[in-house]
Amino acid sequence: MNRVREYREKQGLSQFALSQKIGVARQTINLIENNKYNPSLNLCIRLAKVLGTDLNGLFWEEEDEK
């Protein structure tokens, strides 16, 4: 599982607000959060920038999480 939802909630953003900030549809954010869609590297970077973190923080799975 990625941590997009966790970081988004930390920032106090709704899915819609986040989607508007990075220029995608809300459904795309929903699909990413539910691991139903693998975003491109470009979109991952945009997500990380808006959520104030890096790619490792957002998408890297720790051993114990597996």
Binding site: V24, A25, R26, T28, L31, Y37, S40
Partner: protein, 177 residues
């Protein structure tokens, strides 16, 4: 973040009925639906051309009429597939904020009126072609001196089409909190 849309992107969005941003997920789904449609079209064209080429040798008149009809049915079927596939992948949903909802509804109405006028004009110009072919009537005469019945028919068709499209567009627009 907004990217400028080029003409081709606008055409793609109009064809699939996408009103929000054309992001990478939507592009991926469009590519999938488009590829499936292309493969079906390619197979259909290959087989139908082969069959009607041989049929046309012995019965050219019948072959032309049947080919036209079959093409039309195929076109309707592939359009139906595209409509259902777009709906199921949720790429046609347009989510707007609560503040923007009224504005969006107004935009849909405006768009429907414009497209209704274009549709009405096209219907007005295309419908008399049937009478030209079937009843051998003059095309220009029908356009310049239309009967009352024909005018009412055109207006009704346009109104029905506008209402139908408006309901589809309104159904696709969702209010977000």
């Amino acid at each position: 973040m907004k990217n400028k849309e080029n003409f081709l992107t606008k055409c793609i969005k109009r064809f699939y009925g996408i009103t929000g941003p054309l992001d990478e997920y939507k592009r991926q789904e469009i590519n999938r639906i488009g590829n499936n449609s292309f493969i079906i079209c390619w197979i259909y064209l290959m087989i139908s051309n082969f069959i009607f080429f041989f049929c046309g040798y012995n019965h050219p008149g019948h072959a032309v009429i049947i080919y036209g009809g079959v093409n039309f049915i195929f076109l309707m079927s592939i359009s139906f597939y595209i409509m259902i596939a777009s709906y199921r992948s949720k790429i046609t949903i347009n989510e707007v904020s609560e503040n923007n909802y009224k504005n969006e509804k107004r935009k849909i109405k405006y768009r429907m009126i414009i497209s209704g006028i274009i549709f009405g004009l096209l219907i007005y110009l295309i419908n008399p072609l049937t009478s030209v072919v079937v009843d051998h009537e003059s095309y220009l005469n029908q356009i310049i001196h239309p009967t009352k019945r024909y005018l009412i028919q055109c207006i009704l068709e346009t109104v029905f089409w506008c209402l139908f499209m408006y309901l589809i567009m309104k159904n696709r627009t969702k209010k977000m909190k």
